[in-house]
Symmetry: C2
Subunit: 231 residues, 2 copies
Amino acid sequence: MLRKAFHADLDQIAQDLVDMTLLAASAMARATTALLDADVTLAESVIDADAEIDRAREDLDERCFGLLARQQPVATELRIVVTAMRMSADIERMGDLARHVAKVARLRYPGSAVPAELRGTILEMGHVAELIVAQAGSVIAARDLDAALTLEREDDAMDDLHRDLFGRVTSPTWSHGTETAVDITLLGRYYERYADHAVSIARRVVFLVTGEYDVEAESSHEDVEDLVREF
Amino acid sequence: MLRKAFHADLDQIAQDLVDMTLLAASAMARATTALLDADVTLAESVIDADAEIDRAREDLDERCFGLLARQQPVATELRIVVTAMRMSADIERMGDLARHVAKVARLRYPGSAVPAELRGTILEMGHVAELIVAQAGSVIAARDLDAALTLEREDDAMDDLHRDLFGRVTSPTWSHGTETAVDITLLGRYYERYADHAVSIARRVVFLVTGEYDVEAESSHEDVEDLVREF
């Protein structure tokens, strides 16, 4: 009966992680809209709502501690609990990155941080961010390894968009000044890191399921940001 | 006897975390030199050496898993083991950030990414990074709460330098072009995030010792990057 309660707790934790991905998804979707529409009210609401994700993480972490202390899990169950704490850290950070995007929107209000010619790229980055966090949620909910693979392809799409963004900012024809270049550089990094954390989540689940963590893939992944700049 | 062995294991883990801070310190010190001296050989060595920090983290995390599974710690000892895994993640990320700095140095070789007028600021950021990681090591080694406070002041110094850097890049008198603005924007962020992770380490130790984690301080800390841009 104790075991049964423990597994119910683990199921609840998985569900709460999925709920956290929904909050992080909503945050980035709304931050992207705030950015492109120069909507300062929406930007403020994203900034304020980040505290909710932070609280969800604290709450989840405390329950994981409680499970470790009371249930003393070993082997796979131990890994599930520790991995849940790591995933909650990933999702909390995704919320921070959405908040950073919203803050750029607020900073440039009533103007827009994004020049007209880059709106399409940023819109697409926001779209990929939505897809990738939804897939991360599916991977957690269903331990779906196919979704984990699809997610890696979405991350490649994000890298391409990031590369495109950098190419435009550093092109000799750039005409929007340094301040906008700084904004776009940081925005590109926020979206890129958001996708990186979704990839981390998927790889943690793959590791739980298969016992194999592709360290080399992670390390090459970490390098994408640098590679983007070496195109 | 088992308890004694467990405490010896915990001491070893603390020592290994301190050793990891030394690797992260060396990485950022050498990356800063590579950047300012346009020394591509040094940059390559920093990039290659990052794998060593990654391996140290994997090794430490596996030992922490082993302790959780075999020793089934509760209460404070449980928190120590879980916190050690979080600190190893912080330090590993600091190594990544040093590698990012080294990659900017390599990308711009034989030129330098840093214009002459900003060399002093970057040099100082490298200096503060060295101080702050050394203090993080002291905090881990000695659970020194005074060092944790000093470390927060160093982080304030890093914020000031970051603010200075942003002010120069976005000033109307900026004359070094967009590519350099992008480089400096990213470099500023790498040093800033490096210091953030050192602050996280210190706060985790303070939490272990006092049982109080200043969530509000963390949240205001997370905002520094945005505040820097709202000066």
